[in-house]
Symmetry: C2
């Protein structure tokens, strides 16, 4: 023990590795499915297959939570569902606000998957005066002017940002100032926040670009056995202004 306290505030939390935390929801989903089929117990092998991970990894992940599981039998599904839920903090209610009720924000508001895990949409907030009062997903959109009051009154600690990129940092600052300490950001911007505030981002564009990279690689590897490149070899790269870059080079 005593590994902590070396100015590492947000890396390892209470002994549970971040990578493990990120997989717990995955296990929880698989377990919930088993629970609905009234499966009483499950082995690490079976559950790992359902979650799409290595079984040793799963066992090690669970070992951070404690010694649940019975050798020779496996894990009690219901019990594990409860333990993981508790560890993730899903046994309590998390009021959430969504800021920016456009295409994406409205889709999120309409999404049923929120409530299923203890996340309750407490308010929808938008800067457009024309939207104020309009019902979205059976809930009136509120104006940004009341943001601070909404956060405080509802005890909101998790905020979702679905505004255009240009407004995201400003919205973020206001959310944080009002007391929000966790932010899920859908806008394509790097948010800067004070210590103690967690930001996670969902970036569709980045995901597509990563896919495109691998896609290009597959296509290029197709013909040649090695995969270095199909076209003109030996043109590794070059700083020379002409011949390589198609007219985009500055000067």
């Amino acid at each position: 023990m005593a590994t902590g306290r070396t100015h590492r505030p947000a890396t390892r939390s209470r002994g549970i590795p971040e990578a493990t935390v990120a997989r717990l929801p995955l296990y929880l989903r698989a377990l919930t499915a088993l629970s609905e089929r009234s499966v009483p117990t499950v082995s690490s092998e079976e559950l790992a297959a359902a979650a799409g991970v290595n079984s040793a990894k799963l066992r090690k992940d669970f070992s951070y939570l404690g010694s649940y599981g019975t050798r020779g039998v496996g894990y009690d599904v219901e019990y594990l569902v409860y333990q993981i839920s508790r560890e993730l903090g899903l046994t309590q209610d998390w009021p959430v606000v969504i800021v920016g009720i456009g295409n994406l924000g409205a889709a999120l508001a309409n999404y049923g998957g929120f409530a299923s895990r203890g996340f309750r949409v407490a308010a929808l907030i938008d800067a457009d005066p024309a939207m104020a009062g309009k019902p979205v997903a059976g809930m009136p959109v509120q104006h940004t002017d009341d943001l601070e009051k909404i956060i405080t009154d509802n005890g909101v600690s998790i905020g979702v940002i679905a505004t255009p990129a240009g407004a995201a940092q400003q919205v973020c600052d206001r959310l944080v100032a009002a007391g929000v300490t966790s932010i899920l950001n859908f806008a394509p911007t790097v948010l800067s926040v004070p210590d103690g505030v967690d930001v996670r981002k969902v970036d569709l564009s980045i995901e597509l670009q990563i896919l495109a990279f691998h896609e290009q690689r597959k296509a290029g590897e197709e013909g040649s056995g090695d995969g270095t490149a199909a076209p003109a070899a030996a043109q590794e790269h070059r700083k020379g202004p002409d011949g390589d870059v198609p007219a985009v080079m500055p000067a």
Copy 2:
């Protein structure tokens, strides 16, 4: 060298670490913003700050692409934009299909951020007969029956799945069979695909659960110095059926 060829087909691609690939779009975004402001050159320090990463990491990332950059000066913005775009495969056109035009699918279809990076929405596909022909984002929704033909005719290699979870694997199988080799999955399911097909998932629910975990930790740490737990100590864990679990235990 010669580290490769140990049956590692999808980990390191052409020498560029996966972690680096995932950051390239981030750099590209920051560089594009600089380009629009007509900034000619940028130092690793400045660019790293804009992208929210360590400057040494950024330099190492770029070193995988080649020796662009001039010592004492920095990197040529336009040149770097081009090089990264090329590396990511964004200099070519990527036709994309979106399957499942509900709340989320429609939002994605309406999203302008697609086209900006070479991704072109080639078709919108839904299983609901009532939706067929309906225009969404200025484009008629097509029926699932024609999925294979649409993929083939448009040379689509990237598919986006925004159907309910129950339909995702089936849709995925059809996409793959039709020739799609990269999938972006929004449905909360683990997709199984043959080798050579890349899947990336965007899972809102998982992100929220991770935030909730840290949020709970912050709240629990507040009062106590150690942060082990506030309530009844010494109840480490226990397999016994009663007393710990709040009526969810099976038998």
